[in-house]
């Protein structure tokens, strides 16, 4: 027990010193830390939104919508592939319902070829080699294709990756500070923006799918039919909130002339009436196509459709050949700017919906931090005083351990880039209470051993040895609870669990190893024959 070689003393001291030093950048104002020379590592504890203030938004992908999109894409692929086959396969009666795509092969002799062709459109997903679509023959002339769950999963996965990227681009374009954008689970994206007070603009921006289409207006439709939701053949009824004709819908040809995919730039600008508009620029292929279409349809109205709603439907007065166009609608500067950002960042591969949202004002966060710091300081003071009057010199050792432990926890959190939340502060205060438990166990055991008549040295040695086993056992069970919280908890609870777990690890070290070193050094130097404990 007295056997504490020099290297051990040094490594324990250095380790704790490192932990304490790591905590320092978190304790002084950020601006000051920023002025430090770059070679000094300055890890900081992240503050959760409940402390820093800001907005938290949880988005969920609309997988039903995605499945529909997938089905439409497959239908399009089947159509082109069958036409391209050599000899072309004549199919008809293409129907899509309930997530299945069915079509008839007119010439029964081509059935096998059609199935073969359909199979080439499917791909293997996952490790099991399962296909993303099932192809089956029904009634010996109809081919039915259904997306497998694995296929939908892999499509969701790809869409989510794209969506996360698009959301990140859009939020970065807003220029807010250090946003967190991460995919959560299979179909969710977590967005956290510190410091943001009104998340409406952010939600508007994220919520836009930004699917931009140019389509011709069907002028043959009559308004009465349109109101009933009926459109001429080859056309469909599309919402048009700002329709100057007074009805909120318009008939558009189904065929999409050009889509927003071929954009290379989008900017907010003003038109000749000083109205906010968005100007867009196509790439060379897009510009060529746009030129051709406008050339062929002079004096016809065409519609700009965003996310299934018509923004405006002006007349094509002359061919537009330069590859730039102007989108007008009911914009103000801000909404035009948001649309420009959304168009620039590309379209969302899947629609996202806000399913959870919370906003905390920075003042409340600052109040919470102040309250947390006050509570921590008072808790430390009370516990330190209590330990001192209960255990004397051994209490001083325990107190040194607790105070160092407070800093080491902060240091480790900074090093691990952990986030401190409001419940985390509670965890912090609680750890101060539980950290001394190890020392209480040790000191009570030493008292007991002394009562049984052991000499100082043997009582201290036995006290540490017997108590260490108990401490280990008790902390393992405590850690089990902490781990479960870390895995299953969400948001603030995770923050609490992180502090608790780090606290368990560091407090065992400071309370057992560090105090033991202090006690050993003292006993070695003074060789006491009696101790007050």
């Amino acid at each position: 027990m007295l056997d504490f070689p020099r290297w051990k003393i040094w490594s324990i001291s250095l380790l704790l010193l490192a932990g304490v030093l790591l905590a320092i950048p978190s304790l002084i104002p950020e601006a000051q830390v920023a002025r430090w020379p770059g070679w000094i590592p300055a890890p900081r504890v992240n503050l959760g939104l409940d402390l820093a203030g800001g907005s938290h938004i949880l988005l969920e992908a609309d997988t039903a919508d995605l499945a529909k999109q997938e089905l439409a894409k497959m239908t399009e692929n089947v159509r082109t592939e069958m036409r391209r086959a050599d000899p072309a396969i004549d199919i008809g009666d293409i129907s899509t319902s309930d997530g299945r795509l069915a079509f008839y092969v007119r010439n029964i002799a081509q059935l096998d070829a059609a199935v073969e062709k359909a199979r080439t459109l499917t791909t293997a997903v996952g490790v099991t080699g399962q296909r993303d679509w099932n192809v089956a023959v029904v009634n010996s002339s109809q081919v039915v294709m259904t997306q497998t769950p694995a296929g939908l999963d892999s499509a969701t996965d790809a869409a989510m990756k794209g969506a996360t990227e698009v959301v990140r681009k859009r939020i970065d374009a807003l220029g807010t500070k250090e946003p967190t954008i991460i995919q959560q689970g299979k179909d969710r994206i977590l967005v956290q923006v510190p410091g943001l007070q009104d998340p409406q603009a952010l939600k508007d921006l994220i919520g836009k799918t930004a699917k931009l289409e140019f389509r011709l207006v069907d002028t043959t439709a009559n308004p009465a039919d349109l109101m009933k939701g009926r459109a001429p053949i080859g056309s469909e009824v599309v919402p048009y909130p700002g329709n100057p004709q007074g009805i909120p819908v318009i008939a558009l040809q189904r065929r999409v002339l050009i889509t927003g995919d071929q954009l290379i730039d989008a900017k907010q600008a003003y038109d000749q009436n000083n109205q906010a508009v968005v100007t867009i620029r196509f790439d060379s292929a897009g510009a060529l196509k746009f030129g051709q279409i406008t050339q062929q349809n002079v004096n016809k109205p065409f519609a700009m459709v965003l996310d299934g709603r018509v923004l405006s439907a002006p007349n094509i007065n002359e061919p537009i050949l330069g590859g730039t166009a102007q989108i007008s609608g009911n914009f103000n500067v801000e909404s035009a700017n948001n649309l420009a950002i959304a168009l620039r960042s590309g379209k969302l591969p899947v629609a996202l919906k806000v399913i959870e949202e919370s906003t905390v004002r920075a003042e409340l966060g600052a109040d919470s931090i102040r309250a947390g710091v006050t509570a921590s300081i008072i808790a430390v003071a009370l516990v330190v005083a209590f330990m001192l009057v209960s255990y004397g010199r051994f209490g001083v050792y325990a107190n040194l351990a607790v105070i160092i432990n407070v800093f080491v926890i902060l240091g480790v959190m900074a090093l691990l880039n952990a986030t401190l939340t409001l419940p985390g502060i509670a965890g912090f205060v609680l750890t101060i209470g539980t950290a001394v438990d190890a020392n209480v166990l040790i000191n009570e055991r030493i008292r007991e051993e002394r009562r049984r008549g052991r000499n100082v040295f043997s009582a201290v040695e036995n006290g540490y040895k017997e108590a260490s086993r108990t401490i280990f056992e008790a902390n393992v069970t405590h850690a089990i609870a902490g781990l479960i919280m870390l895995v299953l908890g969400s948001g603030p609870v995770k923050g609490f669990a992180a502090v608790l777990l780090i606290g368990i690890a560091t407090s065992v070290f400071t309370a057992v190893v560090f105090t033991r070193m202090l006690v050993a050094l003292w006993i070695r130097r003074n060789r006491p024959t009696d101790i007050t404990i």
Partner: protein, 322 residues
């Protein structure tokens, strides 16, 4: 210097003797707690039932019925109000709007804030929170799962480290702690939010800590005094560890007390839950879980085939001589 000793040396309190009383009290309290939860129900926060929560900070304590009337006039559904310990702080809770449109929730928050601000000048809104029914369902599920897993995980751990009786007695005692805490929330109608799940798990962790220390001592004494009567042995173990039990509970209470007084209003429910949990957990460690071992039939035959007790005994003697 004379040091403070809250528990005198060599206490000899007959904990085991009163165990039938303790069991009866525990059972009654547990049944009352379950009854309270069933009868009054829990005041679940928006985290768990979905909805909108807007915290508002008034200049002076507002008349709650006027605030309620102001919000009800908007026709957004039935408003629930809750006053924090500072009377100027009120949480307004509303059900989610029926429209699934994202903008609807925001419009609703804006509308409520505008209406309240018009009626009570100087009011501010430090935070709000909206949770959809789907997410809240998952949070409930995860919360329950976490507590259940923790209780079982720890019971299994103590079964492996000790004997099955220890696992069972710990399990019973922790379930009791959790139920009493839930009952407390049912009776006081304090809001149960996500943080309370964290508090619950911490109570489980703390309570088990306490029981482990006593169980560990019982095992040690059983190896040391093979012939001792179980009742006397358990009393001895609980008494020997009593100073530690009291000291630790007190230090944690000191820390929690400072959190309760100075830690701000958001954490208040959490802190109350923890304080109650510490008291209940300490009680069940001292009076219930250890005495339950006798009922479950732990006897001198337990822990016998292990050889490590002999080894540690031998070591102790040799060191003492040297």
């Amino acid at each position: 210097m004379r040091l403070l000793k809250i528990v005198p040396d060599n206490t000899n309190i007959g904990f085991v003797r009163v165990r039938h009383w303790a069991f009866a009290i525990t059972a009654i309290l547990t049944i009352l707690a379950i009854g309270a939860v069933g009868w009054r129900g829990l005041n679940l926060g928006v985290d768990f039932v979905g909805g909108v929560m807007i915290e508002s900070q008034f200049q002076s304590p507002p008349p709650l019925d006027q605030v309620r009337a102001t919000v009800d006039e908007l026709g957004l559904g039935e408003a629930q109000l809750q006053q924090f310990a500072e009377a100027t702080r009120v949480a307004i809770r509303l059900p989610l709007p029926h429209s699934s449109d994202d903008g609807a929730t925001n419009a609703m928050v804006k509308k409520v804030q505008a209406a309240v601000a018009a009626k009570f000048p100087g009011v501010s809104f430090p935070r709000y929170n909206t949770v959809s029914g789907k997410v809240s369902g998952e949070l409930v599920q995860n919360g329950i799962l976490a507590v259940v897993l923790a209780v079982f995980g720890i019971a299994v751990f103590s079964w492996f480290r000790y004997e099955w009786q220890f696992g069972v007695s710990t399990f019973v005692a922790i379930v009791h702690d959790v139920l009493i805490t839930l009952g407390f929330f049912a009776v006081t109608q304090m809001e149960v939010d996500l943080n309370i799940v964290a508090a619950m798990l911490t109570i489980v962790g703390y309570s088990i800590n306490d029981k482990m220390v006593i169980d560990d001592r019982i095992r040690e004494n059983m190896r040391k005094y093979r012939q001792m009567d179980m009742r006397a042995l358990i009393d001895l173990s609980v008494n020997e560890t009593l100073p530690r039990t009291v000291m630790t509970s007190l230090t944690i209470m000191l820390a929690l007390g400072s959190l309760l007084l100075f830690g701000g209003h958001v954490l208040r429910g959490f802190t109350w839950a923890m304080m109650l949990g510490i008291v209940v957990g300490t009680y069940s460690s001292v009076y219930v879980s250890s005495s339950l071992l006798i009922t479950l039939g732990v006897g001198p035959h337990s822990f016998v085939p292990r050889s490590d007790s002999r080894a540690s005994g031998a070591e102790r003697i040799s060191r003492r001589e040297g």
